[in-house]
Symmetry: C2
Subunit: 429 residues, 2 copies
């Protein structure tokens, strides 16, 4: 019999009724013959409540010297959910027990509030589920070699689930969430009919299509580029460990159709789409450095300083300035880091030899992603033509083997996503 890991997020366990539904879904998989471990998040809203309490007691900033106790506070949320789900399962007559991280153990490094799982002892846990008992495990957390509680950072429950699936050699890791799979793009943006139609109105039927399968690489790009279905780190881990992940809806009853989307190796995907999806992110800022001295090592100094400040730079464009011996450099970074990036470049010693730093925050990044791109020409041309036809100006371009991203004025985000979704033939019939 196969081992299966199921993961349920905060909205799926938000109240006792939803926990009962989760218990029914788990019971059905066990009934179908799976040896089941379940990874759960804290009830929605609970982590935020605990974070607020921790900040109120430890100071708004917290940070190093506080993170270990922040983790103690925040980790309590998932412990509660494990007990509640175990109770709900037993009430249905299903043998179940909670396994706290220290009981398994699941070990991580000591980078509190953003720890990485290093090792899971699957021995006793595996034996328990093989004996027919459902194991309920708190996601998002682990313990250090020194027995302290760590958390993995926001969204870390997906990563916990994939790590547990890898350790158990599970057939699959099913991530239950509030959408029923991975879509070609954000369904809220591309839809037929009136903008003002009521929810449930057939006029609201969206153009986005659920993908049956998507490769790890594509999912990784989509996650990094703004799609919020899976946390980036969990996809990286699934890819590294070869864990088949399925994204599916938690708002169903056992027996309802719920195929979801399989995230798997590229080789499993027969029909490789040139473009599988369109992603966007409004959390972008564009910094333009004017009149940068055109001497060797200046770019290294600029991006070295940003790296030291842990500012994640994305697109970089370099161009000749009109002034003799000067150039302009454009780059993007997360919007929240824009002010800090400017400060890093304008202050500090030695002073950087540049004339001006302009910050523009009303920009968005729109990307098209597809493994078929590797062997296809003209993909970029289609993108640029589609945007040009709508009169959308491209401010920067970044490409990888399987994605093309452009930076545009944020007010055209939806327009651009819709145009690209149509241009690459992704619209639902």
């Amino acid at each position: 019999m196969a081992r299966l890991v199921m993961k349920f997020g905060g909205t799926s366990v938000a109240d006792p009724d939803r926990i009962a539904r989760v218990a029914r879904l788990v019971a059905a998989e066990r009934q179908a013959g799976c040896r089941t471990a379940v990874v759960v998040s804290a009830q929605s809203g609970e982590t935020d409540r605990l974070v607020r309490l921790a900040r109120a007691c430890g100071g708004e900033e917290l940070g190093p010297g506080f993170d270990d106790e922040y983790d103690v506070v925040v980790a309590a949320g998932e412990q509660v959910t494990t007990g509640l789900l175990a109770l709900a399962l037993r009430k249905m007559g299903v043998p179940a027990r909670s396994w706290q991280n220290w009981q398994i153990p699941i070990r991580s490094d000591a980078a509190h509030a953003k720890a990485r799982i290093e090792d899971i002892d699957a021995g006793p846990l595996g034996a328990a589920i093989d004996a027919g008992e459902v194991a309920v495990i708190p996601g998002f957390q682990a313990i250090t070699a020194g027995q302290r509680i760590t958390t993995l950072g926001r969204g870390g429950s997906d990563t916990s689930a994939v790590a547990v699936a890898a350790a158990l050699g599970a057939l699959r890791c099913d991530i239950y969430t509030d959408v029923d799979g991975v879509y070609t793009t954000d369904p809220r943006i591309v839809r037929y009919g009136e903008e003002n139609a009521l929810p449930g109105d057939p006029a609201m039927r969206h153009r986005a299509r659920r993908l049956e399968k998507i490769s790890y690489e594509e999912m990784l790009e989509m996650a990094s580029l703004g799609a919020k279905v899976l946390q980036t780190r969990s996809v990286e881990l699934a890819m590294a460990k070869g864990v088949r992940v399925r994204v599916l809806s938690s708002f169903v009853e056992p027996g309802d159709p719920n195929p979801g989307t399989i995230v798997c190796d590229e080789d499993e995907i027969v029909e490789k789409q040139v473009v599988s999806g369109v992603a966007y992110s409004r959390d972008e800022a564009k910094l333009t450095l004017l009149g940068v001295a055109d001497t060797p090592g200046v770019a290294a100094e600029i991006f070295g300083r940003l790296a030291e400040a842990a500012i994640n730079v994305d697109m970089i464009v370099q161009s000749q300035s009109r002034a003799e011996g000067r150039q302009n450099i454009v780059f993007t970074c997360p919007d929240r880091d824009a002010g800090r990036a400017r400060d890093v470049l304008l202050s500090g010693t030695p002073k950087l030899d540049l004339e001006q730093v302009q910050v523009r925050r009303d920009v968005a990044k729109v990307s098209v992603i597809g493994i078929g791109m590797k062997s296809q020409v003209g993909v970029a041309r289609t993108m640029f033509a589609a945007l040009a036809a709508k009169g959308i100006n491209i401010e920067a371009i970044a490409t990888s083997e399987i994605k093309i991203s452009v930076l545009i004025d944020a007010q055209y985000t939806e327009l651009a996503v819709r145009a690209l979704h149509t241009a690459y033939g992704l619209d639902a019939a």
Copy 2:
């Protein structure tokens, strides 16, 4: 330098402001040279919230087969408080860390939801506080030999604190609470002046006096007889381990006068009061068994059945019935168990040979307690005379070496307490 254990209950840590005050009190003791461990409860209301969630998921009754996961849910409340207090201490610059029960470990038996602490490894914990770091420990919980989480039952945080103090060989265990010590009786009942005076009004000055010292035995009787200052089990443990306990107010700032009440060995108390306190309990029911067969073994059968049903019988009075070969038996038990006690006696096989069971629930137990009673005559006479002077009828009497309890009509509870408080010279000047 001496080791000290400080314990703060749920109302003392109810919000971030109160947690900050607790941190100031802890910091002051450390500044004064104490090596400090702090035991905390869950924030007030939190345990109730978690119990409601657990019942909503596992069923209203829970009980065996559910209690282990109930404990997982409920124990999360104290974990949160430990992290919050550690954060508040660090914010003040005081080195501190939380110690979860599994990190110490504090071991108990496996009687989930009502576990008893069996063993505490004070090694690493003691070393940490001796190095100047405040240790913050969740009360009310422990782990089993099999690494499962247990809780000690309501009020168990006092017991945790005393057990930690015993393990650390602490100078004293300071129980901070919402009263400033142990009083001769419930201050809400005996006071001078108008019943309707506003709080803070000098007319409200109560007659009850704070005791400077009280012996373990007296405290134990007062706790069992209805005084809610300390949990009975914690006093038993303090007496068994010889831990000096101090009850004092948590609603003060460092430096404010806060002597509290010391609970200690009888030998430490020079002036032994004949009566140190008057306690009362309204959680009583009186059962009268009419026409019980006057044959050997009947009483054993009756009280054996009640014991099997875990019903705690208190006062017992036996009298001759008018009918030939018949007697009447009167006993009291906790009010919540009264219906179940009747069922146990009227059903079951073989059928008990008795004519009728009468249940009376509007009764109260009023008790006077004092170690001086051991060597004093006339204590009971004073009690009966004081009650008679107020026209209060006594329905049953129970005595021990250091206490006399009477059962009376519940409507006279306050009247009786006031009369006895005056009769034994306990009124404040």
